[in-house]
C-alpha cells in the first residue's frame, strides 16, 4: 500500500453547488482577520518587522549569533586585548585583516601597532572570531556595514574598531581548567570493546 495517497470524493453536494455557504465562510475568515488586526493592541497577527521605523530597533529582532561589523574589545586598563597573534588574519578566507605587531613593553605580550579590516573584502564568515584566543575580536554588534562614499571609509582601523568595543572580562591567555581533568574518565562511545 502506498503511503500518503488520500482519495478525495468528487461528488458534488448541494452545499457545493450553492456556493454561498463557502463564500460566506471565506468572508467570515477574512473579516475575522481584519477585525483582529485592526482592533487588537499591537499588530494582531501581523508578523512584519517594521524595519527602518524610528521606534523600531532592529537589533531586538536579530538573533544573538548574528554576525555584524567587527569590533575590538579592550582590557580593564583600556588597552586593546589583541596580542597580534595573527590567528585571525591567518584564518581569514578573504585575507582582509592586516595586523602589524609591536611590543607592549610589559615583558609578556605583543600588541597590534595597526589593526585594519577591509570591510569591503570581508565575507562575514566569522572565522576570525572563532580563531581569536583572547576574546579580542567580536562580530556581535548587530550592525550592518553602512554604505560609504569612498572605499577608504570602509577600511576600518584600530580606533574605529575599538569605538564599538567594550571591556571584556575573559581571563587573558585562557583560564580553562586542564582538559584532562574536565573530560569524562570514560567515554561511553568507546565502552564497547570490540575484542
Amino acid at each position: 500500500m502506498t503511503i500518503g495517497v488520500k482519495k478525495v470524493s468528487l461528488t458534488r453536494t448541494t452545499r457545493d453547488q450553492i456556493f454561498l455557504p463557502a463564500i460566506l465562510e471565506g468572508l467570515l475568515t477574512t473579516a475575522r482577520h481584519f477585525f483582529k488586526n485592526t482592533l487588537t493592541p499591537g499588530m494582531g497577527d501581523i508578523d512584519t518587522i517594521r524595519y527602518g521605523e524610528p521606534e523600531v530597533d532592529v537589533k531586538d529582532y536579530y538573533p544573538d549569533r548574528f554576525r555584524g561589523v567587527h569590533r575590538l574589545m579592550y582590557r580593564e586598563d583600556g588597552s586593546v586585548r589583541c596580542v597580534a597573534c595573527m590567528c585571525c588574519s591567518t584564518v581569514c578566507p578573504a585575507r582582509c585583516i592586516y595586523i602589524h605587531a609591536e611590543d607592549r613593553r610589559d615583558d609578556q605580550e605583543k600588541a597590534p601597532a595597526s589593526f585594519v579590516i577591509d570591510e569591503l573584502k570581508c565575507v562575514v564568515c566569522g572565522f576570525c572570531v572563532e580563531a581569536c584566543p583572547c576574546d579580542a575580536i567580536r562580530m556581535d554588534t548587530k550592525e550592518h556595514m553602512v554604505p560609504t562614499e569612498t572605499r577608504e571609509e570602509a577600511v576600518l582601523g584600530k580606533i574605529d574598531l575599538m569605538k564599538r568595543g567594550g571591556p571584556s572580562v575573559a581571563v587573558q591567555g585562557g583560564a580553562a581548567p586542564n582538559y584532562r581533568e574536565v573530560a569524562p574518565k570514560r567515554d561511553p562511545r568507546f565502552e564497547h570493546d570490540p575484542q
Binding site: 488520500k6 478525495v8 468528487l10 458534488r12 457545493d16 453547488q17 456556493f19 454561498l20 463557502a22 463564500i23 465562510e25 471565506g26 468572508l27 475568515t29 477574512t30 473579516a31 482577520h33 481584519f34 488586526n37 485592526t38 482592533l39 487588537t40 493592541p41 499588530m43 494582531g44 497577527d45 501581523i46 508578523d47 512584519t48 517594521r50
Partner: protein, 614 residues
Amino acid sequence: MFNALVSLPPRLAATLRRLPVAWVWLAVVSLMLPATACDGEDPPSSVDAGAQMHLEPARLVFHPDTAPIAVDIVNDGKDPLFINNARLEGPDWSSFQITDARTSGIIAPGERATVHIEVDAASLKGPGDARPIVAAGAEPPEPIGPDEYRVGEASLRFSANGAEVSAPIVFEDPPWFGQYFLPALLKILALVMGFIMPLASLLTWLERKQSAMMQDRLGPNMAALGFGKVKLRLWGIPHFIADGVKMLFKEDFIPKYAHRALYSLAPLFAFAPALVVFAIMPFGDAVCYDHLGDVLSQADVDQCADGRGGTALQIAHIDVGLLYYFAIASLATYGTALAGWSSYNKWAILGSLRASAQMISYEVAIGLTIVGALLVYGTLEPHALVRAQMDSYWGIVLQPVGLILFMTAGIAETKRAPFDLPEGESEIIGYFIEYSGMRFGLFFLAEFIEVIFMSAMVATLFLGGWSVPFMGAHGFETAWAAQLFLTMLGLGLTVIGVGAWRASKHGETFGVLLVTVGSLHLFGAAYSLFTGWGTALPHILVIAIGLLTWGAKVFILCWVQLLIRWTLRPADEPGLEGPASAVDRQHRPDGGDRVPHAARGAASHLARFMELRR
C-alpha cells in the same frame, strides 16, 4: 459586580477595567431601570393636548402648478371628533377651494380624515389688485406685471368639539434661480465634493489597507502629513494625496498611432456617467428651510420636497428614476470601448470588448433583480422607493434573494474581482493598458465611484436608504426605539474607539474622542429612559440622522464590497486553481486559517464544479 471579573478572560477583564465610562453608564442604567417601570405617561409632544387634533401638513404652500394638497385632520384625543365646520379665511380665501365634500362628520380616536385644497392661480395673477396696508412712511410694494403672480395668503380652519385648528396657506411664485437652480447646484456640489470624491479617494487607500489587514500585512502606512517636526501618519490615509500628486506629475503618454481625440476623451466617457447617475440617488428626506427647529410631520416634509419651502435631498426627482440609471450606466460602456479602440493596441481592444460585453450583459441581471422590488413597492422613483420601504418593510426582508443577486451583478458591473475578466490585473491586460498618469487615474476613480454607487443602490433598494428603523419624519415612533438606536450607536462607537485606542499609540486621540462621543450617546439613551425623549425631534436633527445613516450604510456596503473582492480573489493568486479547500484545509498545519486557501473556498468549489462539467 467587579468580582465577576475574576472569572473573565484576563484580556477582556483588562478591557473592561479600562472603560470606567461604560461602568458608570451601566450603573446609571441599572439605577434607572426601576424608573422606567412606572413611566406610564405619554411622552411630551409638540401638539397641544387641549386641541385633541392636528392638521397634517401644518402649513400649506402653493405654487402656480401645484396639484391639490391633501390635508389630514388627525384625531389625537381619546374621544370621537365631531367636525362641524371647515372653512377658509384670510385676505385671499376666495382664491382657494376645498374640493372634498367631507368637511363635516365624525372621526374616531386615532383615525384621520382627508380633504383636498386647490388653488385658482389665475385669480392671483397680476396686475395685482392687492391693496396691502402700508405703514405711514414705508415703501409701497413694487407693482406686479401681467405675467407675474402676487403672494396670496389664507388659512384653513377646522372646528370640532368646541376647539379649533388652523393651517396657514401661502401662495407664491418663487424665482427660478433661488428655488430650483441654486439648491440643485448646492446639492450637486455637496454630494460630489462632500461625499463621493472624498469617499472614492479614501477607497483607493482603503482597498490596499483593508486587503492588508485581511491578509496579515501592514499595508500602506508611510505617507504622512508633515507640520514641521510633527508628522501625522493617520494609518497611511495621506497615501491617496501622494497617489494623486504622483499621477498628476507622471508623463502623459499617448501612443504614436492612437486616435488622439478619442484617446483623450475616453477617460471622461468612463468617468462622467459614474458621477451623473448619482442624480437620482436620494441621500435624505426633504429639508424645510424655515422649520429646521420645529417638529414636522411626514406630510409637512413631503410638501417641502418639491420645492415649496424646501428641497428634497435628491438632485433630480425623476419619475422614471431607475430607467435613467440604466440609460446612463450603458453610456459608461462607451468609455471602455473607446479607450480600447483608440489606443491602437490589440490587447487593449480585446480587453475593451470583454469589458463592454460584460457590462452590457450584467445590466440585464441587474434589471431583472430590481423588478422584484419594483413589483413590491410599485414605483421606479428612488425617493418614493425609500418612502415605501419606511411604510412597509425594507427590501432585504421582502427580497433577500434579490439583494444577493443584485450585489453579485453589481460587482460584475463594476468590473471587479471575482468578475474582473476585463482587467485581470495579474494575468490578462485590460482596456486601459496604454493609459498613464491621471488619465489612468480617472478610470481608476470611476471604478471606485461605481462601487460607491452600487453601495448606494443597495442601500436605497434593499436597506431603506436614509431611514432608521422605527423612525419617521417627526422622530422615533416610541421612546424605546430612540433608546435602542442610541444604545447601539453608542456601543458601536465605544467599541471602535476602544479598538483604535488600543491598536496603536497614534490612535489614542481618535480613540478617546470616539469613546467620549459613544458615551455621550449612551448617556442620551439614559436620558431618554428618564424623559421619554426622542419621539418629537427637531427637523434638522432628523435630517442629520438621516444623512449620517445613509452615509454609514453606503460606507459599510463599500467595505463589504472590498471584503468580497479580496476574499474571493486575493491579489496575484490564480483564483481558479489549487486543490479543493475543504480537503486541503485538513492537511494544513495551521488548520487552514490563513487567508488564501480558506478564502478561496468558493472559487475552489467553482473550479471543482467546472472540472466536473468538462
